[in-house]
Every structure is written in C-alpha cells, then in structure tokens.
Subunit: 389 residues, 2 copies
C-alpha cells in the first residue's frame, strides 16, 4: 500500500502512499501539499524527472537544497490532499487538462496544480475574464465603481476574477453576481479555507455559480507571502487587470505589475486626488503602467477582442434581474437564498446605507425578487430562472 523512500539527510526513511505515486495528478497534488507556490526547485525537479520521479528525487535526500521537502513530508500525509478533495467535491486541475487556465503557464514558475470548488472549467471562464481588484480599505465610491464595472463586464459576457478580500474585491464579486454573471475567487490559502471568514457566505455563493480556486492545497492557511503569490495567478489567468482603488503600497499594485510584466493590459480607475486609495491608481497611470478606465466599456476596449467585444454582448432572453437598477441588483445579491438576513446585515453585505436598502427591498419585494422571512429577508428561489415577462 505504500512506497518507502530512503532519505539520507534525515538518516531515516519516509513512507509515501503508493496512490500518491500512481498518477501525475496525484503526484502533483502531493507537490502542492509539500511546497510553497512558485518554488523553482519544484519546477526544476518536475522538468528534469516528471512529477512522480521528481517527487522521489526531491525526497531522496540526494541534494541538500531539497531538505525542506523531506522535513515537510515527514509531517504531512501526502495522500490526504487528494482524499480530502474527493470527499469535499473539490476538483483538481493539472497542466494539460482541458479546463486548465492556459494564461498561468506564462509564469516563470507556474502552479503544479490548481484546486477548484464550483465550476472546474477555468479555461473557458478565464479565456474571457477580467481581474477587478483593489484596496481592502476602499471608499463607498470605489465600491460602487467596482460593482457597476463588474456588472457591465459580465453583461458583455466576461467573467470577473478577484481575490474575495474586503473592499474592492468583494464589490467586484457582488457586482458580477448581481447580474447573474460568473465570477472566480482566487484564494491565497486552501479552497476550503474561506478567507476572510466574514466572506464565507460570499465565497460559498461564488462557488455555486462560478469558481473558487487556489494553488495551495486544501487546509493551507492564507499567509502574507501566499497572498502575493496568489496575485500572480489573478494577473496571468485573465485577459487584463483593473485596479479600482489602491493605496501607494497596495497589494493590488503588485497584481497590476505582475499583469504588466506578463503583457496583460492594466487599467486603473481615477478618483479624487485627495483620496489615499486613488493615489496608487493615479501613480500607475502616470508611470505608463496602466490605462485610465472609467467604465465597463473602457475595460472591454482595453482587454476585449477587437471587433467582437467592441459591441455590447447580447444575451436574450434577458432575465428579470437584468432590468434592475444597478444598486437594487447589488442589494438583491446581498440577500441570502437560504435563511434570512436583517436589513442591517443586507446593508453591510451590500455596502449600502440602511435607508437605501429599505427602499430597494420594498421595490424588490414588489418585483417578486425577495420576501420577508422570520423578521428578515430572503431571496425568492424563482427569481433566478423566471421567464422574462
């Protein structure tokens, strides 16, 4: 049932489950559970020996620079990531899979595999997708721009990729969801580690209609370096990156630079010159790294396929939700499908004022989109697939 590897450096031996060495897929899953993203030693071992023999070589102790893998393997059940994924309906993609998002192969050290909750077809999602990212400490202005830009992008048939963080990321995901659009959350830890935890519901909803993906194995914690490494996936899997708000030291500028380095167009949204979180956007425009974008049309002009995306994408028959006012649509997206949420909770989730939410909920109730439930509000199931009137 298992495979014994002599490890000279530890003076002992490691036990590797035989299933791990059975296929390239299981070996890559083990690599993902063993090494940090973007480890060039992993890339080199796989390039020289292939994923399976590379694993044996890396754990043989023949080369002292691979010692970290042995130490980690000694504390890790290398078959557990795959087993956990199977138990929890998590998909595993490896390079060459038809669902693999080709863009990430442009990286100097591409991921060894990707873990996906929800729709596993990252290839078709990513082919027509835009990254919309920005500051966690965003302003109401930034949130509104991110949401309406995301809504406009998905209306034109593009998916919105972001990082599920507070602020701009959240607004981008919500804007996409509000129009029934597809959105992808790229997590810094494992796909089972919803982070921030306050966004567990949002991340679960994204997985229902789009995808939640990660390079790290299930169970891995989102650490600071992993956030930066995660950003390079967002930057390269998409057709372009838009920064809505960013301070001068924002991590989203790191995403933008990564996109530019890999020849993806970068857009930045202007804002007040007095806003700290627009300073980063203005800076990358001034430096020539980014193009100014003010709305979804500008975004598509920047990233779209000439002559295909220039004209608005038609998606008849339109859903009832498509006809909603953009802010109502954002508020609708913040109303849960299961259980019920108070007006305050909906307002917090949607990033809108309580007064706006109360007005919107009244309109949405009349439209048949939401109903009162247990003193709160819930989404009406039928509102999603209702035939156009």
């Amino acid at each position: 049932m298992s495979h014994l590897v002599r490890t000279d450096t530890l003076g002992g031996a490691l036990t590797i489950p035989r299933a791990v060495l059975a296929t390239e897929r299981s070996a890559r899953a083990a690599w993902s559970a063993l090494a940090e993203p973007e480890d060039p030693r992993v890339r080199d071992l796989i390039a020289e020996f292939g994923p399976i023999e590379g694993l044996l070589a890396g754990l043989s102790g023949r080369d002292s620079k691979h010692r970290i893998f042995i130490e980690r393997a000694a504390r890790t059940d290398l078959g557990e990531a795959t087993a956990f994924a199977m138990r929890h309906g998590i998909h595993l993609l490896i390079p060459g899979d038809p669902e693999w998002p080709e863009g990430v192969d442009d990286l100097t050290v591409p991921p060894v595999c990707l873990w996906v909750k929800g729709d596993p077809d990252l290839s078709s999602l990513a082919r027509r997708s835009v990254a919309i990212v920005g500051a966690r400490m965003s302003t109401p202005y930034g949130n509104q721009v991110a949401a309406s830009m995301a809504a406009g992008v998905v209306e034109r048939g593009y998916a919105v990729v972001s990082g599920a963080a507070f602020g701009i990321d959240k607004s981008a995901h919500l804007g996409a969801l509000s129009c029934g659009g597809r959105t992808v959350a790229v997590l810094a830890g494992g796909v089972d580690r919803a982070y921030p935890t306050a966004h567990a519901g949002l991340i679960a909803e994204i997985a229902e209609t789009g995808s939640v993906m990660a390079e790290c194995a299930p169970g891995w914690a989102p650490t600071r370096p992993r956030f930066l490494l995660r950003n390079r996936l967002i930057a390269t899997m998409t057709a372009g990156t838009i920064v809505v708000e960013a301070g001068l030291r924002s991590g989203s500028l790191n995403t933008a630079r990564s996109a530019a380095r890999h020849c993806r167009p970068v857009g930045a949204v202007p804002g007040s010159v007095m806003s700290q979180v627009s300073a980063g956007c203005h800076g990358i425009v001034r430096d020539g790294l980014a193009t100014l974008v003010c709305d979804a049309k500008d975004v598509l002009d920047l990233v779209g396929v000439m002559g295909v995306d220039a004209a608005p994408h038609q998606s008849d028959p339109v859903q009832p939700e498509d006809r909603l006012d953009p802010v109502d649509a954002i508020i609708l997206a913040a109303v849960p499908r299961r259980g019920a949420a108070s007006v305050d909770t909906v307002a917090f989730t949607a990033g809108q004022t309580v007064a706006e939410v109360m007005g919107a909920l009244a309109r949405l109730e009349l439209g048949g989109f939401v109903s009162r439930h247990d003193g709160g509000w819930k989404r009406r199931r039928s509102s999603r697939r209702e035939a156009p009137s």
Copy 2:
C-alpha cells in the same frame, strides 16, 4: 492731422488719423480695433507691407476680400483705442517688445498686439507660468484642487494664467492670489470689459498684483468666438496647460488641444468617474493628449525646467544628457540631428505616448537639448558636447 484713403469699393474715402500711421505701435493698435483676432488677412497684409502700409493697403479697396476692414473702419475711430488706453493706464505691447510673451509667436496667426492692465511685463510672467483652466460649472472638489494646485505652483515661483471665468478659472486665480503669487487673466473682450461682471472685483485685484490682458481692443465685447480665440493665447503663452475639470464639450479642452498642437505639455486632473466635469479630463488622458496630474509637484514635473524645478542640481562631471530622466533620454534619442521630426514621429520612434513626448520636449527645449524647427523638433548640436557646469 489726418490721412485720406481712397476706397474704391465704397466709392468714397476714409479718414485715418495721421497719429495712427505714425508708428508701428499705433498702426497695430488700429488693426486690433479693426479686425477680429486670428484674421489671416491681417497677418498677410502685415507680412507683405508692414503694419502701417498694410493698413493703407487693406483700406485701399484694391482687394475685395478686405472690404470688411473698410466697412469697420467707416464706423470706427482708429485712433481711439490708443487714446483710450493712454487715458486709462492700459499698456500696449507689440511683437518685439521685451515684455512681449514670446510663446504666442508660435501661433499660425499671432496677435497683432496685446492690451495689458497691471504689470506689462508678460514676457517674464509667461516664461515661468502654467495655465490652470477648466469648467465654469465646476464642483467643490474641482475648485479646491484648482486653488491648491495654483497655490503650489506660485509657491514654486510660477505664475498662474487663466481666463477669469466662473468655476475653475476663478479658483485658480484665487489660489494664486491667496499665496501672494502672480496671476494673469486673459480676457476674451477688451481689458476694460471685466467679464463676467460678477468678477469685476477679482479682475481688478488681478490687475493690481499681476496682469489682465486681451488681444481685442478696449471696448470690445466678449463674444463666443472670441472666447475660443482667447484660449489659444492661454495655451501658447504658458509653459503648459492644466485642465482641472472639463465636461466632454468644455472650452477648456479647446485650450488643451491648442496647447498640445503647439507642443506644450498638457496635464489633466482625475476625479470621480461619475462626475460629468471630470469626463473631459479622463478623455484627454485616455487619448494620450494629457498626462495625469494630481498636485503642484506633478505640474512642475510636467512643465518645469529639468534640474531647476524637478530634481536637485547635480554638479558631478557628468554630461548634461546623463542627468536626464530615463524616458526623457529615450525621447531625446528619437529626435533627429538633421532635419526635424514631428511630435508624432518622435513618439513613434521613442515608443512613448504623444503626451509624454510633448512634456519631455518642453523640458528638453528648456534644457537646451532640442529646438523647434520648421514646425517640428531637432536636436541641438551643442547639447552633445556642452561642458558640465
């Protein structure tokens, strides 16, 4: 006391005061009272005959295309503009005067003269000056940015030139005045016609510490075409033009285009993507006409003299070119030593945006590296072997 001119077209005769024909100055003043700004017929007559004989030729009726001058002369006291100016302490500048702002000579049809209230030395005012212009229907945000940008610009020893209009213009003048800085109001009508009348006090204050100037003769009303013609003076007499807020059809975009056409750097201030009066600013940045500027430092980086206004002066035994900003150095390398290249050609060769190239050429000209030649740019021979200071 007077000079009789036969005018065949009117079948009669005009009386021209002899004083009008006494000097180039008085003849140019008469031209200013006779013809609209930017009349190419006036330019051609002066080029062919000089201002005095040109006046006689234009009023002779020999050429039917000059008939408008005869009709106007029949209703105008051609000596009155000069007499009025003398009575009211209005200065008259003509090309070649040491106080003449050289920049306007780059115009296809430069002014025949300029009327000035306040400090007549427009040359020294304009040499280090920035135009700060924008929407009349500005927002509090735009007003605040215009005022603080103007204040920052005058604190760095630059004058602020604007059009004394409501909104951004007024805020720019006030920002300059608030720091005891110098500011120039360029009026569309005569300098005695404070317009808008609500700004009579502001315009009087500008004349006390700076200058109020006009191309039209005293008494002339500010009409719509004269506003557009006035804008070309603002654009060319200054080292660069900054648009703070502008709708998509704003007259200040006309100023910006005029500045760009004459190779002056153009800056635009970003703002909310939801603001109508930031749409024009965002548009000219996206089109590559303008560079994003957020504060006075950005403005000086754009228009300032390299090594004087931007970076501290280095006295190492390096070549002057070695001290250039890397992008400026790339742009300098794209300017030919023989013949002249247009801004577009330089931009193409250097792989930079037109806006960047215009900013760089302005800096390089001030640094003595390039010069204007036949409507284009060429490298100055001396710039290569100049001894370091």
